[in-house]
């Protein structure tokens, strides 16, 4: 099978809905910028097939059998780490979790040494979360293993943006022309930076809203409408994506109090009424209830927050699967996706 970056077209007779192309050109996924528009669509299409795996009674395929995946998390994370781990297990990968607190990191080892030591054990993939922007770039330079950025400081969190796009597409059928308003702590958000790139590639109209102190410079140049008025941002929006106020990353004073933040920027039922009638509300989590989002909104009928979490597993399965295909690029057909029960893809 020739490698290709063409988006897959669903073959009706394929049980997984997957056509042949099963690889990405990039070795690592550090930023949404590493992916072409076609590759993004390939990931989203593949994730649909992966989602189906999650509905089976035995939620496991042997696609990554024999692959070793290290989840290297230097920042605490429940959702993302669990999501990756479940995705890896459903693909039959051998997974190892390394958390910063239980490792040599607490003994003062440098990131470079930690990575070189892991690399010496020949893992196939490293899923990396780190507090420093660009940590994945350093890892990619030092390691032959495929690096998946699971959040690097304030830089990017590409799989989360893919999850968000998948969720929007599932709900809305597509992203082109959709009005997506992202509201909250833009400055400190890696989810925002990944979404900024991804949503624009997929043709959404992006509006960014937050306090002036938490804005990025030059947003108009990035093709984003910026506003400090939440009512303006919500008006007519098809998707409202709220960002967590990252108090732990804030040095100094960005706004007077959480109370005032909620009054000016918090998403309430009253504000939500200005959005499109079928607007959905998203949040990458973890939420600060009563700061960026009212509980009635978070738990209300417009909220797709738990769908995002559910889709997280499928999208990460797709990313792991396709990157494994790019790593084993020469292998015909990429990694096996069949359950070993009659889905013989040999010869493709």
């Amino acid at each position: 099978m020739a490698p290709t970056a063409e988006p897959s077209r669903r073959a009706p007779d394929s049980p997984l809905g997957l056509d042949a192309p099963v690889r990405l050109r990039t070795k690592d996924l550090l930023s949404i910028g590493d992916l072409s528009p076609d590759e993004i669509l390939l990931i989203l299409d593949t994730a649909e097939a992966m989602k189906e795996v999650g509905t089976r009674s035995i939620k496991k395929v042997p696609a990554l059998r024999g692959h070793t995946v290290v989840n290297l998390f230097f920042e605490p994370s429940t959702r993302t780490r669990t999501s990756f781990e479940i995705a890896e297990k459903r693909l039959s990968a051998d997974t190892v979790n390394v958390a910063a607190s239980g490792s040599s990191v607490s003994k003062g080892e440098t990131l470079a040494d930690t990575l070189r030591n892991l690399e010496a054990m020949s893992p196939d993939m490293i899923v990396l979360r780190h507090a420093s922007a660009g940590a994945g770039h350093l890892a990619a330079r030092l390691c032959g293993a495929c690096i998946i950025n699971a959040g690097d400081g304030m830089h990017e969190h590409p799989t989360q943006a893919l999850v968000d796009a998948f969720t929007i597409r599932e709900r809305k059928g597509g992203l082109a022309g959709l009005r997506v308003s992202i509201i909250g702590d833009l400055l400190h958000s890696r989810v925002f930076r990944s979404n900024l790139r991804l949503l624009r590639v997929l043709g959404a109209q992006v509006c960014a809203c937050g306090p002036a102190t938490l804005m990025l410079p030059d947003m108009e140049r990035l093709g984003v409408r910026a506003t400090t008025s939440v009512d303006d941002a919500v008006a007519g929006a098809d998707v409202i994506m709220l960002l967590r106020v990252q108090l732990e990353r804030m040095r100094g004073h960005f706004f007077p109090s959480r109370r005032e933040y909620f009054q000016r920027f918090g998403m309430t039922m009253a504000r939500l009424r200005r959005a499109a009638p079928d607007a959905v509300v998203m949040h990458p989590g973890p939420m600060n209830r009563g700061v960026e989002i009212a509980s009635e909104v978070a738990d209300g009928s417009r909220s797709v927050i738990l769908e995002q979490v559910a889709n997280g597993v499928a999208v990460r399965m797709a990313v792991l699967y396709l990157l494994a295909g790019s790593r084993r690029g020469a292998a015909p057909g990429g990694p096996a996706l069949d359950g070993g029960s009659g889905w013989d893809r040999a010869g493709e």
Binding site: T110, L111, A112, H130, S132, A133, G134, A135, H137, L138, D152, G153, M154, H155, E156, R190, R193, L216, P217, D218, R221, L222, R251, G252
Partner: protein, 466 residues
């Protein structure tokens, strides 16, 4: 002392201090320039060096901003390796910052640096003393004692003198001692945790920003204090457009303010951060294209007085790290001349003569040291340029112990053919055809001994330390 006479024959001599730009011979005796002019006659025993075709004879370049790391961090650089890097880069003199361990805030440290420089016997080394004890910003260092020991300026190197009243008194006291204060302009409240220029590139990369205004604000204070006291202030590594406006308006009303700019700030922008290359991390940070343009304009219009490297050697481990944890700084001694020739002169932004002035006469004048001119009686500190030499930067070949350059692998036009200090050849570039002729002047005796060549006696009245 030898009476040896050397003549550099037939080269183009560019000496902005005397306004000379044309083919001339340079006659050297006992380490000093005796005469410059076309078709000089010499006694038969003189060593005759035919300047290779296309080469340009210039007054020795003076780098007024380098970090040589000794004492305290000799694994990054020593005075000897720094001096070797300097002469290989065409610098006959280098002023070294006091951020050593211990800091150069008392005569003993100054003496040690001068002794190491004399042992090396390569470039002249001019120590810069600390403004405050331990560079801690609280009490004045022994500025008079530092001056007597051989320091040529004071600076808290890498840190601003934050306290305005302390800065005022430092300016007044240093001026009394005949020295400028060199300040690192940074309003640090605005740059806490910053690692990159605050702008579009850092914003998308998720790097905490250091706004250009942080430099401009501090520079504004320094210019005002210099105006108030009449004492000279020199602003290190200016990187921002706004800072130039402050300097320009200060100069226009007669304030004794001078400033320098680095080759990296003149040629690179924050777009270079895209891959989180820690060799592009320095303070002040690489700024936007508009700032770079303004700096280049500032060179041409005279707002900027000199080009200095801010040579900051780092061990590989300090750079092989997360971007926000990696050390600031880049090396520059061995790339500055090629980068400036290629990107400034050949690109048509400044004339060769202007560049030579920025690298020689101006820094020598600001520091109050000999050199910077090829006139009768001047020390025979000479940089010979090969302006059209194709050069490929290879960090592995540096004489510096450090490799942290953002220019590795760059192909540039223009380099150094040879370097002479006190009439003695201390560097010959083997890849310049005919440059081996400078080997005729490589004997130590010709320069009147290592001391004269190595800055043991950099200025009148300073004790020679060996």
């Amino acid at each position: 002392m030898s009476e040896r006479t050397t003549i550099l024959r037939g080269g183009r001599v560019v000496d902005p201090a005397s306004g000379r730009d044309g083919v001339a011979d340079v006659l050297i005796r006992d380490g000093r320039v005796v005469r410059v002019g076309p078709g000089l006659e010499v006694e038969s025993e003189a060593a005759v060096i035919d300047v290779p075709g296309g080469c340009v004879v210039c007054p020795g370049f003076v780098d007024m901003h380098a970090h040589l790391r000794e004492p305290g961090a000799e694994h990054k650089e020593t005075v000897a390796t720094g001096a070797a890097a300097a002469v290989a880069g065409g610098f006959t003199a280098v002023a070294c910052m006091p951020d050593t361990e211990p800091a150069n805030d008392e005569a003993g440290v100054t003496g040690l640096i001068l002794a190491r420089a004399a042992e090396a016997g390569l470039a002249r080394v001019y120590p810069i003393g600390a403004v405050t004890r331990g560079r801690a910003g609280r009490q004045l260092a022994a500025i008079g004692e530092l001056r007597d020991a051989g320091c040529v300026a004071v600076s808290d190197a890498g840190r601003p003198v934050a306290d305005a009243i302390l800065m005022r008194r430092a300016l007044e006291y240093a001026a009394m001692c005949g020295m400028p204060v060199i300040d690192h302009c940074e309003e640090t409240a605005l740059t806490v945790d910053g690692v990159a220029h605050e702008g579009g590139a850092a914003a998308l990369l998720g790097l905490r920003g250091m706004p250009a205004a942080a430099e401009e604000i501090h520079a504004g204070r320094d210019v005002a204090l210099s105006g108030l006291t009449g004492a000279p202030v020199h602003l290190a590594h200016v990187s921002a457009r706004g800072t130039l406006r402050v300097v320009r308006s200060g100069k226009a009303r007669g304030v004794p303010v001078t400033c320098e700019v680095t080759p990296h700030h003149l040629t690179l922008t924050d777009e270079r951060l895209a891959e989180y290359d820690t060799n592009c991390k320095m303070n002040p940070p690489l700024r936007g294209a508009a700032d770079v343009e303004a700096l280049v304009d500032g060179l041409a219009d005279g707002t900027i007085d000199c080009v200095a490297t801010d040579h900051a050697p780092r061990h590989v481990d300090e750079k092989l790290a997360e971007f926000d944890r990696a050390a600031f700084g880049v090396v520059g001694l061995e790339t500055a001349v090629s980068v400036c020739l290629d990107r400034l002169v050949h690109a048509g932004h400044v004339s060769l003569s202007r560049l030579v002035g920025l690298l020689s006469a101006n820094p020598a004048r600001i520091l109050g040291v000999e050199g910077g001119a090829l006139t009768e009686g001047a020390p025979a500190d000479i940089t010979v340029l090969a302006p059209d030499l194709p050069v490929t930067v290879d960090a592995r070949g540096f004489r510096s112990l450090a490799r942290n350059t953002p220019f590795d692998g760059w192909s540039l036009r223009g380099g150094v053919a040879a370097t002479m200090v006190g009439g003695r050849t201390v560097y010959v570039n083997a890849s310049v055809r005919g440059a081996d002729a400078f080997g005729l002047a490589s004997g130590r005796a010709a320069a009147g001994g290592a001391d004269a060549a190595a800055g043991g006696d950099p200025r009148a009245g300073a004790p020679t330390r060996v």
